[in-house]
């Protein structure tokens, strides 16, 4: 929570430095395609595009506290909307972006309604089964989607006046869209909506008492998040020029979540780092073996959750914090606290000091569980 408030807080003293950072980043981002090989430019483009999807997922998971294992499905919906519009209606590329965004927003709104009732793992179940169901559905709708052969459409072409190569032009277009999307996500989080989301994540009941409309904000969080995924899908079609059901298997959804977790949940820079991770780790480790990316991903997710729940983005802060804590400790040796020593029977639930700041309450769920048999049915809080 602390890290988020500092990330979101408009700290006036840091303005000039922040502005400098932004300028430098922008300069590097604009200059990069002129110094890199086309293939590297393409990879960067993909990183940016994944960052949009991850920023959306971050809204939902990192700030909304809801779990989606099906964001690949919204990504696919955006990609297919774009491909079908280009293929059948020949609308031109720019027109597809708002349609894909709006379509996915509505789709997310539709999924947000069950999300009101489904908390935590149930939402994960539903979204996962949706992600599993989508590829066969796309194959079935052959007249529109081209079935398992997929659809091949025109890539984004550079206009003559720009004098840019195809990969460079695509990079700049995607860069612009990504910049707008990330800015939108950031401003959304600093607005009333963002504060309401954080309140809901941290304590639903308290948020409701404070006057936050739970149903509205949970649904909206899902819709916004789906919209970002849809935009990323649209960019994907622009860049790749080909969609097929097998590109959007539920592995994509899981990869997106994995990237976000490694990049940093609830952080504004997490999506960018996570996107780089999603793009480069498979392409680097694929050379070793087909299974290597999965092994790396799986191990990293578990490790990150154990030792650095704030992900890569939170790592510098955590390291600095740990160092700062360590410094005074060398002078004042902490006396061992007698009651902290566990009974020989008790399980060593206390973990290493570097562990995540989650409070371990092993007995807590039981208190809730131990209800009399004739207890009234679950009260839905809406």
């Amino acid at each position: 929570m602390n890290t988020i408030t500092t990330a979101l807080g408009t700290d006036r003293a840091r303005r000039p430095r922040a502005a400098l950072t932004v300028l430098l980043t922008a300069a590097v981002a604009v200059g990069a395609p002129f110094y890199l090989a086309p293939f590297q430019v393409f990879q960067l483009t993909m990183v940016l595009l994944y960052a949009v999807a991850l920023a959306g997922l971050n809204l939902l998971v990192g700030f909304g506290g809801q779990i989606s294992l099906g964001h690949g499905a919204f990504f696919a919906a955006g990609a297919y909307t774009t491909a079908v519009m280009l293929d059948r209606y020949d609308t031109g590329h720019l027109a597809t972006l708002p349609v894909a965004a709006a379509g996915c927003f509505l789709l997310g709104l539709g999924f947000g309604v069950p999300a009101l009732r489904l908390r935590g793992l149930y939402l994960a179940l539903v979204t996962l089964s949706f992600a599993v169901f989508l590829p066969p559905l796309l194959k079935r709708l052959e007249p529109v989607t081209g079935g398992s052969m997929g659809l091949t459409v025109d890539k984004l072409q550079p206009p003559a006046w720009s004098g840019l190569a195809e990969d460079q032009w695509m990079y700049f277009v995607v860069l612009a869209v990504t910049a707008v999307a990330l800015l939108l996500a950031r401003n959304l989080l600093r607005s009333r909506v963002g504060r309401a989301l954080l309140a809901v994540r941290d304590n639903e009941s308290a948020a409701e008492v404070m006057g936050v409309r739970l149903s509205l904000h949970k649904t909206l969080a899902f819709a916004w998040s789906a919209m970002f995924a849809g935009v990323a899908g649209c960019l994907y079609t622009w860049v790749i020029g080909f969609v097929s059901p097998d590109s959007f298997s539920f592995v994509l959804s899981i990869t997106l979540l994995a990237g976000l977790v490694v990049g940093g949940l609830g952080s504004l820079y997490g999506p960018l780092l996570g996107a780089a991770f999603v793009m480069y780790v498979p392409s680097v480790s694929q050379d070793l073996s087909e299974a290597a990316p999965g092994v790396v991903f799986g191990l990293l997710i578990i490790t990150v959750m154990f030792v650095a729940p704030t992900g890569l983005a939170g790592l510098p802060g955590r390291v600095l914090g740990a160092v700062a804590r360590r410094l005074p400790r060398t002078t004042t040796t902490r006396a061992p606290i007698p009651e902290a020593a566990p009974a020989p029977d008790a399980e060593p639930e206390s973990r290493a000091e570097s562990g995540p700041p989650v409070t371990l309450t092993p007995a807590d769920p039981a208190v809730v569980d131990a209800e009399p048999v004739g207890a009234p049915p679950r009260t839905e809080k809406e």
Binding site: L69, Y122, F130, V132, L257, V358, T359, T379
Partner: protein, 293 residues
């Protein structure tokens, strides 16, 4: 009519497999309040162990108990190494850790045994019974029989042994159990071991039908989720009833609803999960959780 019965029998056969994986999910949920997204992958890994044993010349019915023992130990190990550190952490953390385990185990199997499809020996003889025109394969009967035996053994364990009593105590109230001198950590390990064993049974049973490959259990897991949701995530009986229902519903929908057909059958669990959660979130046999904010 005969045709319908035939479909129902086939549905029960696959339903029994879903039931056993759902049973594994429910066992873990009861003990730790965790839905283990890696359950199917652990079962797949166990199946590979069985395959390896059979491929190295061991007879199937000897390889099976060895596999189950390995799975039991593996499940205990997973609890101790991967799950214990996040026990009691927010739900999001736990779900993400099990998803990480899912990805890891899936890739690990691919790394060791490659992604090529392997033939798994059918432990039951060919042919079957003919009951008034309905053909019941020995394999379907065998699967249902094995799952029934597993259910029976679990029932005996939980209701008629002191270990079972201790386990129920931990599932009911870990704090009180710990205060009365039960080593909760060990019981949780035992619970995960049991779940992994039950899951392994489902993997071994389904492998001859689906063929063995690292992604084999992905689809089965979705059906098992639907089964557990339908039966109630805290009810073992519900898991079995739910599994059989989902199996039959899946087969009948695939056979008789033309629009859906064989390729869209995987939408059935999605519909079941959504319907149950919207109408009766605690499932058929589950107990409604009352929350104190």
């Amino acid at each position: 009519m005969t045709d319908l019965l035939q479909q129902v029998v086939e549905g029960l056969g696959s339903g029994a497999v879903y039931a056993s994986l759902a049973l594994a999910l429910v066992l873990i949920y009861r003990f730790t309040g965790i839905v283990n997204f890696a359950q199917g992958e652990l079962a797949m890994l166990s199946t590979y162990v069985a395959w390896q044993l059979v491929a190295s010349g061991m007879p199937f019915w000897l390889a099976l108990p060895v596999t189950l023992a390995v799975s039991f130990a593996g499940g205990m190990l997973v609890e101790r190494i991967v799950i214990r550190p996040v026990q009691g952490a927010p739900e999001l953390t736990v779900v993400i850790v099990t998803v990480g385990l899912f990805i890891f185990v899936n890739a690990l199997a691919g790394l060791i045994w490659s992604f090529t499809v392997k033939d798994f020996p059918q432990p039951f003889p060919d042919g079957g019974l003919d009951l008034a025109g309905v053909r019941v394969d020995w394999s379907a009967l065998g699967i249902i029989g094995v799952v029934a035996v597993v259910m029976g053994l679990l029932y005996l364990l939980f209701q008629h042994t002191s270990t079972g009593l201790v386990m129920r105590a931990v599932a009911g109230n870990p704090a009180s159990a710990r205060l009365s001198g039960i080593r909760v950590g060990r019981v949780l390990m035992l619970g995960w071991g049991l779940a992994a064993t039950v899951g392994a049974v489902s993997g071994v049973l389904v492998a001859p039908v689906l063929f063995l490959e690292p992604n084999m259990m992905g689809g089965v897991l979705i059906y098992a989720f639907a089964a557990a949701t339908l039966g109630g995530f805290d009810s073992p009986v519900g898991a079995v009833v739910g599994g059989l229902f989902v199996g039959v519903a899946e087969t009948l929908t695939g056979a008789y609803v033309g629009v859906i057909g064989a390729d869209l059958k995987v939408g059935v669990p999605l519909v079941i999960i959504l319907a149950v959660l919207l109408v009766r979130p605690q499932g058929l046999f589950g107990r409604a959780a009352v929350e104190r904010a």
